[in-house]
């Protein structure tokens, strides 16, 4: 291992670099000669220009998602959008019931919001994935009760990439009055999502997962959906749904990033799937490498593997010239085996020795081949050190 080795970035599921086309659009909204005014300051022309740019971006984003502009609420990211939807729906509907359903392997933004609801006296069911990391319609149907008011699930799991079938889940809910919230942070711009399906009440997304800036996201809230309780007050922005000065440059960045991603989605998905399978073939040839999730049921840019016969921290350090995640980035700080993989049935040793590779716009075949070479070298060396 040498500090002079080029770092290969395969952590696009954690965050992505801003696409230069997105950065250009944002720059026009930042400096004195750009559109920098407060979009709420409509008493003067710079403010009205900023407002118009925000609304144009809202339409650009809405068009990319196939929805009406009025259904888009800008937030600071998917975490805030999850909080707004989960807490907002639960609080607004608490007179009708206090049961919420989510997924044990959901992102912390969803899980921690649900745990907060538990502290407020709500009853939460945490479904355990039955099918290689996916929640099935059958599981959801069995969990629904008369007092269920909210179902909050991921579209694509951020650790394993396991893709829930939204049509199947919507069919399972059927005519039940519970709201359905989908965290689509990993899937917007990468997988087609039919928001015309009226069963999806809300959807959270984040710009920095699709080559946009950090610090901005959006909540899609279906027109005609039951009201939600506002969580952030002050200023009345976003039709009173979310107070706070609108960040024109970030909103423009989010919209442009999403539009670009959707425009090139199919070809990029095919390219990333091919690169991912090339990576998997190379890693698997090392032996003793397990794939977490099935290829055909996993979002194209994520590959999660567990490596037998090695310890996780040593594995990650031996590969520190590859930027990837050992489990979820949110959990890397406390060195616990991935709760997602444990919920999928992996023992602590395998869950601890798991790696998430996530590919992106600037990933090349040469990088994949070099990652394979470094992986084989590192795993081989660690296994040689092990008691025989």
């Amino acid at each position: 291992m040498t500090d002079n080795t080029e770092i290969i970035y395969l952590d696009y599921a954690a965050t992505t670099p801003v696409d230069p086309r997105v950065a250009d659009a944002m720059m026009a909204c930042m400096t004195m000669d750009g559109i920098f005014a407060n979009p709420s300051s409509v008493s003067h022309s710079p403010g009205r220009r900023a407002r118009d740019v925000v609304e144009a971006a809202r339409k650009e984003l809405a068009d990319a998602l196939g929805v009406a502009s009025r259904t888009i609420i800008f937030t600071s990211g998917a975490t805030e959008a999850d909080n707004l939807a989960i807490k907002g729906f639960a609080q607004a509907r608490s007179a009708k019931g206090r049961h919420v359903i989510t997924d044990r392997t959901a992102h912390k933004a969803v899980l921690d919001s649900c745990r907060w609801l538990e502290k407020q006296g709500f009853d939460v069911t945490y479904l355990v994935p039955a099918d290689e990391g996916r929640i099935t319609g059958e599981q959801l149907r069995k969990a629904l009760r008369d007092d269920t008011i909210l179902v909050a699930l991921l579209h694509a799991n951020n650790e394993t990439g396991a893709l829930n079938d939204l049509v199947e889940l919507c069919d399972a809910i059927g005519d039940h009055p519970a709201a359905l919230h989908i965290d689509a942070a990993q899937s917007v711009g990468k997988v087609a999502i039919d928001l015309a399906n009226q069963r999806i009440d809300s959807l959270a997304m984040s710009a920095h997962k699709l080559y946009g800036p950090k610090g901005i996201g959006a909540l899609y809230l279906r027109a005609g959906s039951a009201p939600i309780e506002v969580q952030q007050h002050g200023g009345g922005q976003e039709s009173g749904m979310r107070g706070g000065t609108l960040a024109t440059h970030q909103i423009v960045g989010l919209a442009r990033a999403c539009a670009l991603a959707v425009a090139h989605r199919d070809e990029e998905t095919a390219r990333l799937r091919e690169l991912r399978e090339r990576l998997w073939a190379g890693l698997a040839a090392t032996g003793g490498v397990l794939r977490n999730g099935r290829a055909e049921q996993t979002i194209a840019h994520i590959l999660n593997v567990s490596v037998s016969g090695v310890e996780g921290e040593s594995l990650q350090y031996a590969l520190h010239d590859i930027a990837m995640s050992a489990g979820s980035a949110c959990n890397s700080a406390n060195r616990e085996p991935s709760y997602v993989l444990r919920a999928m049935g992996r023992d602590d040793a395998l869950a601890g020795a798991s790696l998430r590779f996530s590919l992106g716009r600037w990933t090349t075949p040469e990088q994949i081949d070099e990652v394979i070479r470094r992986f084989r070298q590192a795993v081989g060396r660690l296994r040689e050190l092990a008691p025989q």
């Binding site: 992102h107 951020n158 997962k209 996780g312 350090y317 890397s332 601890g352 008691p387």
Partner: protein
């Protein structure tokens, strides 16, 4: 939505020994002691060969974090030339200064000390 990865900081000594542990390997003679941690994913196999009442060769094999590998390598280096009589009371306090081990990994020192004492008991 996600925090940046917080990667453990390893001292230059840990990095050096992890990258090239000179005492890693297996010897087909002598005594061996195997220890498995109950609190983390760690396993250590220690092998000692004696000559003239002293440890002539010390080798280890391990599955574990970089601190375990580095500590095992350093301990094996220190064991060589040590009189057998000193093994049963062996303490690896020098790890605190020379590596050092983070506070949440002090069990690694205990694992290694237990392995050395196990090997010593086999020699008696």
């Amino acid at each position: 939505m996600e925090q940046s990865n917080v990667f453990p900081v390893y001292s230059s000594e840990v990095q050096r020994r992890f990258a090239a542990p000179r005492r890693a390997g297996r010897i087909e003679r002598g005594v061996q002691a195997r220890k498995v941690s109950s609190s983390r994913h760690a396993e250590l196999l220690l092998q000692l060969v004696l000559a003239g009442g002293r440890v002539a060769e010390a080798r280890f094999q391990a599955v574990g974090c970089p601190h375990l590998i580095a500590a095992a390598d350093l301990v094996c280096e220190r064991l060589e030339s040590m009189p057998v009589s000193a093994l049963e009371g062996f303490r690896a306090a020098f790890l605190e200064q020379e590596l050092p081990l983070p506070a949440d990994k002090l069990d690694i020192r205990i694992l290694i000390e237990d392995a050395v004492r196990d090997a010593a008991r086999q020699l008696n």
